[in-house]
């Protein structure tokens, strides 16, 4: 067995057709520059808003046109694929580009010739980069190498979201698809009420996790080694530096880009586990996370731009696995389109529920009691989707 495994990679004919496509991810930090180029070229100030148009218009359109991604690496090549360092450099490259864009945007925001509407557009476009940078941080923060974990924190500094690295890995991954997880959306919950719950719950969770760790260490958690505090300190230094260099006037726009970035990330959290619930075992523990607990999408466009984040079932089964080696599970539940298009759908809760609730129900074979239900809507759902036998009994 072990000798066959060792010999397999040589015999297996599999090529990563996306190998060079992964470089397209570095287009994202270029969004604000593209916006500026379009404004200069056309003379229309509307193009300052190119960022959101690109992410919520163009990317979903690309998904619909280009379609799905049939390519999954076979088990035999996973190890060699993970050890191919080219792939990590693709993700590392994102971060200097992200910072060039941020500093350039801050400089642009300090220029007197631009009006408030222009600057709001610049901040929104920078926010798209900020949000997708959280995705890059997510990929790096899961890795065992300490330099990659540091890079994750650096990528998170722009949005003041450094605590995400703690909460996501040690909180969300442990409690995923349970009612206790602030970052798993419940069926019937809309994205607008999910936002305050996930943002405040994740913050509290990150703080508690570090507090617990320092409790074991026997020292105070008010400590520079507290990963929540040192990550925030990085943001204080970054924002402080930008304000010192470009003036206090850019502060409102820095806040806007951070809020937009956080919104983008938490919107993805909203759709990744909507309505999914792990069942409780007799031991009182939850069943282990399996592919049925995450929503997947296998569209090529968003797959490439989000480093396979949408192969989310494999990610939760193997969180330390590198993006290029994640596989599509045919048995895992699938969203009707890519993550970007689904975010647009989330803005209209009635449409979202119309599209998604029947899919959650079908996923649980019509048994609504197995879904993670929003407490305020629980009664309504139980009544609406009671099975025929339950209705007779009642």
């Amino acid at each position: 067995m072990s000798s066959a495994e060792a010999a397999a990679p040589i015999g297996v004919e599999w090529r990563d057709t996306k190998r060079y496509a992964w470089l397209l991810g570095t287009i994202i930090p270029a969004i604000p520059f593209l916006a500026w180029g379009l404004v200069e070229w056309t003379g229309s100030d509307l193009f300052w808003y190119f960022g959101p148009v690109f992410v919520f218009g163009l990317i979903p359109l690309i998904d619909l046109v280009v379609g799905r991604d049939p390519n999954s690496p076979p088990d035999e090549v996973i190890d060699s694929l993970e050890n191919d360092r080219y792939y990590r450099w693709v993700t590392y490259a994102f971060i200097p580009l992200q910072y060039v864009t941020l500093i350039w945007t801050a400089w642009m925001l300090s220029q007197p010739q631009y009006g408030v509407a222009d600057k709001i557009g610049m901040a929104l476009s920078a926010g798209m980069v900020a949000g997708i940078a959280i995705n890059t941080a997510h990929e790096l923060g899961h890795k065992k190498e300490s330099h990659e974990r540091w890079l994750a924190k650096i990528a998170l500094a722009q949005t003041f979201y450094g605590h995400f690295y703690i909460e996501h890995n040690r909180g969300h991954h442990v409690r995923v698809s349970t009612p206790e997880d602030p970052a798993s959306a419940r069926m019937g919950e809309n994205v607008w009420s999910f936002m305050p719950r996930t943002v405040s719950g994740s913050l509290r969770s990150a703080w508690e996790l570090e507090k617990k760790r320092f409790g074991r260490l026997g020292t105070s958690h008010w400590n520079i080694k507290n990963d929540v505090l040192n990550a925030w300190l990085m943001s204080v230094v970054l924002w402080g530096g930008l304000l010192a260099a470009f003036g206090l006037g850019i502060l409102p726009y820095l806040v806007i880009q951070a809020v937009v970035g956080i919104w983008l990330l938490e919107s993805v959290n909203f759709l990744e586990h909507y309505g999914m619930k792990r069942q409780k075992l007799e031991s009182g523990r939850y069943e282990r996370v399996n592919p049925s607990h995450s929503w997947n999408s296998n569209n090529i466009g968003t797959n490439v731009l989000l480093y396979h984040l949408q192969r989310h079932s494999d990610h939760h089964a193997n969180p330390t696995r590198r993006y290029q080696a994640l596989r599509d599970f045919p048995e895992a539940p699938v969203l009707p389109t890519g993550y970007a298009g689904m975010i647009v759908l989330s803005w209209l809760p009635p449409v979202w529920r119309k599209v998604m609730d029947k899919r959650v129900l079908a996923h649980y074979d019509g048994d609504i009691t197995r879904a993670n239900l929003h407490p305020a809507k629980e009664e309504h759902y139980l009544r609406t989707y009671a099975t025929a036998s339950e209705r007779v009994a009642a």
Partner: protein
């Protein structure tokens, strides 16, 4: 001193080394860890899921 492996990601808890960052100083016996302490690398499995690691297997495979 024994070693225990996370069944999900191959993280190894080595009693001799402990895991100081997590609050387990070198020499902390596996049995004294919090059963709900989750794997510091993957977060998928907890102490109570870890499996004893055979020393011979560790030197040839890991």
């Amino acid at each position: 001193m024994a070693k225990f492996v996370c069944p999900s990601c191959d993280y190894v808890y080595d009693e001799a080394k402990g895991e100081p960052r997590e609050g387990w100083p070198p020499g902390t016996p596996f049995a004294e860890l919090d059963p709900e302490w989750c794997c510091p690398d993957c977060g998928v499995r907890e102490q109570q899921d870890f499996e004893p690691l055979d020393d011979r297997a560790s030197s040839t495979n890991r």
